[in-house]
């Protein structure tokens, strides 16, 4: 440190949503479902007290086994949102603290009951209209991304299954796989930084390049070349500051080798037939779009018969658990080697396990997991 401490200036200490910009007189109070059965659902308040509960006659009915029949009551009193716990079994939490009796809920604060999380949103009706239009755009983008995703492969030398659970804001995850020729199988997963329609549409543009089996001037069998090519095509300065992480692998089924690169992406994991460990497959590179001339490198691995490759986005392990139990990459990777479940695909088994361990049914970021198993 220098001897001169200078003047410390705190510029911002924003909490929650911050102030919406429209005229205050047109503002209404809303509860927005952040997590739960219907993320994005928006309920306008002000028409008298509303009971939240598991079944009618509650005004807001939510299907959640941890919610009591009459769980809590929300109402506006003198322009403030007040929540009253009605003696629920599992409690009502405001900003993470269990309340007894009633509590004020400031704009931007969250109410948690069971596995459901509501946010108090205070904004103009005009903005809400605009948000609804945006939601429609998001829906379109979500469908567009979906339409590009390949079907699971249920037979042949490579079998695949996957889950992609988009978050309410749409996180910019996408993935794909295809045979380049009879014995060469390409598989990839990408994650565009940021959320929303822009991130999703950027993911679509990159996918449209990756999905082509042949690219002029690029050998799609060479992961490092592929990453360099994409990075030159999608430099952030020419693409609205967008960056993305990519894991790209090419499996030679004849020689049973996997060539791969990770570009600013965490490792993919290879689990052998004995399920006695998960080997991380990553190479130290940079995000696609960050540096135009970065010399991407690739790595190699052997593909034993019966081994499985797990590719996933950071939304799978960057989760803040609802139950306070720690959750991180290591915990997630630990699930990969757990026994198979005959009634489920591998990706579904892992997703269910993450849900059970973290206490979340919906996530703040896209949750994508692709599993490829080699005969």
């Amino acid at each position: 440190m220098s001897d001169d401490p200078g003047t410390r200036t705190v510029i911002a200490r924003p909490e929650g949503l911050g102030a919406p910009s429209a005229a205050p007189d047109d503002r209404a109070h809303y509860l927005v479902v952040i997590e739960g059965a219907e993320p994005g659902r928006r309920i306008e308040l002000g028409g008298g007290p509303l009971v939240i509960g598991r079944s009618e006659p509650a005004g807001i009915v939510i299907a959640d086994a941890l919610v009591s029949r009459n769980h809590c009551r929300v109402e506006l009193t003198m322009g403030e949102l007040v929540v009253n716990d009605l003696g629920s079994s599992n409690g009502t939490f405001v900003a993470g603290r269990r309340i007894s009796g009633h509590a004020l809920v400031a704009p931007g604060e969250r109410i948690t009951i069971g596995t459901h999380v509501f946010e108090h949103d205070w904004r103009s009706r005009k903005e809400v209209h605009a948000l609804r239009a945006l939601d429609t755009d998001l829906e379109k983008a979500k469908r567009y991304v979906r339409s590009l995703l390949p079907d699971p492969l249920e037979e042949g030398p490579v079998r695949t299954d996957w889950v992609l659970q988009p978050c309410a804001k749409l996180g910019g995850d996408a993935f794909g796989y295809h045979f380049i020729d009879e014995r060469t199988f390409a598989i990839y997963l990408l994650d565009v930084t940021g959320h929303g329609t822009d991130a999703a549409m950027h993911a679509v543009s990159v996918m449209n390049v990756l999905r082509q089996r042949s690219l002029p001037g690029v050998d799609s069998r060479d992961p490092a070349r592929m990453a360099s090519h994409l990075s030159q095509m999608f430099q952030m300065d020419n693409h609205g500051g967008m960056l993305l992480s990519l894991w790209y692998g090419v499996c030679d089924l004849g020689s049973r080798t996997l060539a791969f690169t990770s570009a600013g992406h965490h490792a993919g994991y290879l689990v052998g037939p004995g399920r006695d460990g998960a080997t991380p497959l990553d190479v130290s590179n940079v995000l696609i779009g960050m540096m135009p001339d970065y010399p991407y490198r690739s790595g190699r691995a052997e593909l034993a018969p019966g081994s499985s490759l797990f590719l996933f986005s950071d939304g799978a392990f960057e989760i803040e658990p609802a139950n306070g139990r720690p959750w991180d990459l290591e915990a997630f990777v630990g699930l990969l080697t757990e026994p198979r479940d005959a009634g489920k695909t591998e990706s579904q088994r892992v997703l269910d396990a993450v849900t059970a361990r973290t206490g979340h049914r919906t996530f703040e970021d896209d949750f994508t997991l692709v599993v490829a198993t080699f005969a």
Binding site: S2, G6, R8, I11, A12, L243
Partner: protein, 114 residues
Amino acid sequence: MSISYVDVGDQLRRIEITGRLDVEGTNSVASQLVELTQAPKKGVVVDLSSLKFLASIGIRALITAAKAVKERGGKMVLVVDDGSTVMMSIKATGIDKLVPVFDDSDDAERAAAA
């Protein structure tokens, strides 16, 4: 989530970001980060040692700032605790190949002022 700064002499600005650089956190500090790094100080130290979480959106904000500093002929460096989850994100995304990263804040200041 907060962002604050101290100017050390004419040549150096220290910016500290605390809390979580996730989607919400980044939205609230990204424009301030760009503004602060644009001040005509040659060296910019961005101290992330009290940051708890760095999502990819936060990485993007840091990269954008670092590029802008470089463009005006300045130098931006990061202070990150070795072994922290923030350091894991920095290494996974490769931002350390664009922006020098230091564990020690004195080293960071020297590098930024050099």
